[in-house]
Amino acid sequence: MLVHFLREDLGLTSVHVGCDTGHCGACTVIMNGVSVKSCQVLAVQADGAEILTLEGLAKDGKLHPIQEAFWEKHALQCGYCTPGFIMETYWLLSENPNPTEEEIRRGLSGNLCRCTGYQNIIEAVKLAVQKLKELKTMQ
């Protein structure tokens, strides 16, 4: 599967295996611009595709605004689910840069977290929306 190829052959270990049955979203990556669960995709299917994992978000040693927001809002405890949540948030905000709380909740319904509780994650996504907006007006 793509998740095994990313972890074991390419060493991209931010891509986690939580359930392996397509339910938890810990293995979420961006493939050709859309979020997918990499435990449900064959590595050979991704031949020639552009894949973005958490490793590709930080630029020049600086965290991506979504990563900063998760950190500042304490949106993680053990962190196992976090890369998946951040990648799904990345896709959600690329589709809809101004989501309502309901849209955030729906948008993250494919990702499970067993310890933080979802409230701080939702707060982090809201903060990320602000940060990305500020970044845009600055540019």
Partner: protein, 232 residues
């Protein structure tokens, strides 16, 4: 969990897929993989080859014509969810799409794959039956078209014969005042339906119902059209 060993063929046309499927009855089409991968990992199926149609060009169309809507075999649930024209013409279609699984599943899963998989609790069949849609099938002898309610014959069983693939789904359009909706009862967001009901109504000018069409899923071994809905 690892799937069993199988071969992999990437085809560039549906005709090529038909040829592979005709020559090997244990080969299976791979579309979104959102039903196939779980089945493979649980070893519920052991195909000889997966025939990947994801790189076949021009299969991702939602073509809106005056008398019908044609949906290509690679149209993902998400494409239906965000199509503004469909929200206007047949809201039941995007309403169904948004209630399937979760965003990642909807980014890959296809309407055609859902029909071919024929899970008795799948959402699309209810809506497509209510909208009187049919399935266009490409096979060794050529093309045939089957209404969705006849296409699914039982749990995980369809009329698809050896070498046959779904090429598109055809949804007729009706003139006048047409309303449609899909309602799903689920335990929590993203689950399969406990029951799902879709309705299409055609209203006459005075607002009375001229024609009603209903599709039901997850309430039996296969989705169905209630034959004699009672009048109230």
């Amino acid at each position: 969990m690892y799937p069993p060993k199988f071969g992999y063929v990437r085809v560039t046309s549906l005709e090529e897929a038909v040829k592979v499927l005709e020559s090997d009855e244990n080969a299976k089409i791979l579309a979104g993989g959102q039903s196939l991968m779980p089945m493979l990992k649980l070893r519920l199926i052991r195909p000889s080859y997966l025939v990947d149609i994801n790189r076949v060009p021009n299969l991702s169309y939602i073509s809106i014509e005056s008398d019908r809507i044609r949906i290509g075999a690679l149209v993902r649930h998400h494409q239906v969810e965000v199509n503004r024209d469909l929200w206007k013409i047949y809201p039941a279609l995007p309403e169904t799409a948004v209630q399937i699984g979760d965003p990642q599943v909807r980014n890959l899963g296809t309407m055609a794959g859902s029909l071919a998989h024929a899970d008795p609790a799948a959402d699309w069949p209810a809506t497509l039956i209510a909208l009187r849609a049919s399935v266009k099938i490409l096979g060794p002898p050529g093309v045939r078209e089957v209404p969705v309610e006849d296409f699914i014959t039982g749990p995980f069983t369809t009329v698809l014969g050896r070498g046959e693939v779904i090429s598109e789904i055809v949804i007729p359009r009706f003139s006048g005042n047409v309303k449609s909706s899909y309602v799903k009862l689920e335990r929590k967001a993203g689950d399969f339906a406990v029951v799902g009901v879709a309705v299409m109504l055609r209203l006459s000018q005075d607002g009375s119902v001229e024609d009603a069409s209903i599709g039901v899923t997850a309430a039996g071994p296969k989705p169905f059209r209630p034959v004699r809905p009672r009048r109230h």
